[in-house]
């Protein structure tokens, strides 16, 4: 009985960690951006499809994390599958994606304040809050898991509360979209919806025991996906019922538009949004800095980043680097091209990362492994099916939605990743004798 209780508790903890990492205020803007090219039905369908895709992806992450406990998940298993250079490039892409998401969240934090404060005050307030978060991170203070849990539940509750009136609202007439091909809107809505689930796989880093990888972690990520889907499916239905679908993509905080301005619900939504944005930023900053630190410890990045502060044991230089880059990127989000390109860029990056992660799983599955923990038990067909869907939506996103803004950002990413990977190849000799 006690064992059963402990298992349930650990499953619940991992489910909340995973869903907490995925659910963010930025997701509402990303979900809203889908209405620019997809019908309301396609957007809702896309959220459901993305949930199923993420289930397969997350379970692959669980299996591969179990193969490399203690290693940086994505880095470890892509290295085993594709070798040093590809793994480095993919890990850097993941880090860049996290930094881009951080900048986007910080920009949205500014937008929340701007909803009820003059622009200058909002800028000062956001800078002060972000600086405070960086300082807290440097002190090594990690927000208690309980606070993160409360925050996750508060955001889910808020989204339900905001979506509820919309669900009973009569549907607005669907406008004719520019998209001519049947279902073409669905193709781009899927990777965008997949973005809503990003972070569920971070639950793998919170597994601390050997047995957890086998039992509680798979259950935890399944529940995390259910929680995320339960937050965004109602929202995807409510948005077009309450708001004009042509207007939704132009809103940076579409969820606030679901509540009448100035009401108690509106202020509550603002308060929860600020809390969620700051905790997401805090966790994201710490996690991304630790990935940079791990790469530096391996000798892939300059060793100056491989230093921990005494006492707090925080990779201070990595934290400052991430925070500096994020803060430098925030003003760029004032440009409408950047804001509009961001969901597409993130969707493309995400498809690439997850597609290659699934390829890694497939390769590791078919490589003869010496260690029992390196053997996988999951069937191949769902993974192949997920890979096929990801490949199709990725090709469609590249073929149909590659605007000059998107192309420019991706070129920048390629140049940066290519330079780091090519200029700093990891010398095998650097490794221990």
């Amino acid at each position: 009985m006690a064992l059963g209780t402990a298992t349930t508790k650990e499953t619940r903890r991992l489910a909340l960690v995973g869903s907490g990492m995925a659910i963010s205020i930025g997701n509402n803007a990303v979900l809203g951006s889908s209405f620019a090219h997809s019908t309301p039905l396609e957007v809702t369908l896309a959220v459901a499809i993305a949930g199923v895709l993420m289930l397969v992806i997350a379970l692959c992450f669980v299996e591969m994390s179990a193969m490399f406990p203690g290693g940086v998940g994505l880095r470890a298993f892509t290295r085993a599958a594709f070798g040093e250079q590809w793994s480095t490039a993919l890990t850097l892409l993941y880090i860049l994606m996290a930094i881009g998401m951080g900048a986007f969240e910080a920009h949205l934090c500014y937008s929340v304040f701007r909803a009820w404060l003059p622009g200058a005050f909002a800028s000062v307030l956001v800078t002060a809050i972000l600086s405070l978060i960086v300082w807290i991170n440097l002190l090594g203070f990690e927000a208690p898991e309980k606070l993160q849990t409360i925050c996750t539940l508060a955001v889910v509750g808020m989204l339900w509360l905001l979506a509820l009136p919309g669900l009973t609202h009569a549907p607005a007439p669907t406008p004719v979209l520019a998209s001519a091909r049947l279902g073409s809107g669905l193709l781009l809505a899927v990777p965008t919806a997949l973005f809503l689930f990003v972070g569920v796989e971070w639950a793998c880093y919170s597994a601390t025991k050997r047995s957890t990888f086998a039992v509680e972690l798979p259950r935890g990520v399944r529940w995390a996906i259910v929680i995320v889907a339960s937050a965004y499916l109602p929202l995807s239905v409510a948005f077009p019922r309450v708001l004009d679908p042509r207007v939704i993509p132009t809103l940076e905080l579409p969820h606030l538009a679901l509540a009448p301005t100035g009401t108690a619900v509106w202020y509550l939504a603002i308060a929860i949004s600020v809390l969620a944005l700051t905790t997401t930023f805090n966790v994201g900053l710490g996690g991304t800095a630790r990935m940079l630190y791990a790469l530096a410890r391996e000798g892939v990045l300059p060793k100056t980043l491989a230093r921990l502060s005494a006492g707090a044991l925080v990779p201070r230089r990595a934290v400052l680097l991430v925070a500096g880059v994020v803060l430098a990127l925030v003003p760029w989000f004032e440009l409408s091209t950047v804001v509009q390109s961001m969901p597409i860029v993130l969707a493309i990056n995400l498809c690439v990362v997850y597609l290659l992660a699934l390829c890694s799983w497939l390769k590791l599955k078919h490589t003869k492994q010496a260690r029992p923990s390196l053997r996988s038990s999951m069937p191949v067909w769902p993974v192949v099916a997920a890979m096929a869907v990801l490949a199709i939506v990725l090709c469609d996103a590249l073929a149909s939605h590659l605007s000059s803004g998107v192309a420019l950002v991706m070129l920048g990413e390629l140049v940066l990743i290519g330079s780091v990977t090519a200029l700093r190849p990891v010398p095998e000799a650097l490794v221990e004798q």
């Binding site: 050997r210 000798g299 260690r371």
Partner: protein
């Protein structure tokens, strides 16, 4: 192996930076050699390694970090011949434990043997 661990303990306990960085760390470091079916336990109490024993693991109250690998890998790890982060990434080493405990372990290696 026991000799390597004792030397490691002495070096870590005598190093002021290690003591300062790990603070009041209390944990059982459980080392498991997957190729030799052997286990060693380093008892860390208030930032000091108080005992090194070759024994089975108690499911006691102490927090545990389990480090598993071949005997050669574990020997290299505790004698400074192996970068723990790199070894975990390569799959040569399995580490089970709280993230803060893993960071402390890596910090000790970082101080004793450099980046």
């Amino acid at each position: 192996m026991l000799e390597v661990l004792q030397q490691f303990s002495q070096r870590a306990n005598e190093n002021g930076d290690v003591r300062r960085v790990v603070g009041a760390w209390t944990v059982d470091l459980v080392l498991a050699a997957c190729d030799a079916d052997e286990r060693w336990v380093l008892e860390v109490r208030d930032g000091c390694i108080v005992s090194v024993q070759s024994r089975a693991v108690d499911e006691g109250d102490s927090r545990q970090v389990e480090v598993s690998g071949t005997r050669a890998v574990l020997e290299a790890l505790f004698s400074g011949g192996l970068n723990p982060v790199r070894a975990a990434t390569r799959g040569d080493l399995e580490i089970y434990g709280d993230m803060s405990d893993q960071t402390r372990l890596d910090a000790v290696a970082l101080i004793l043997w450099g980046p």
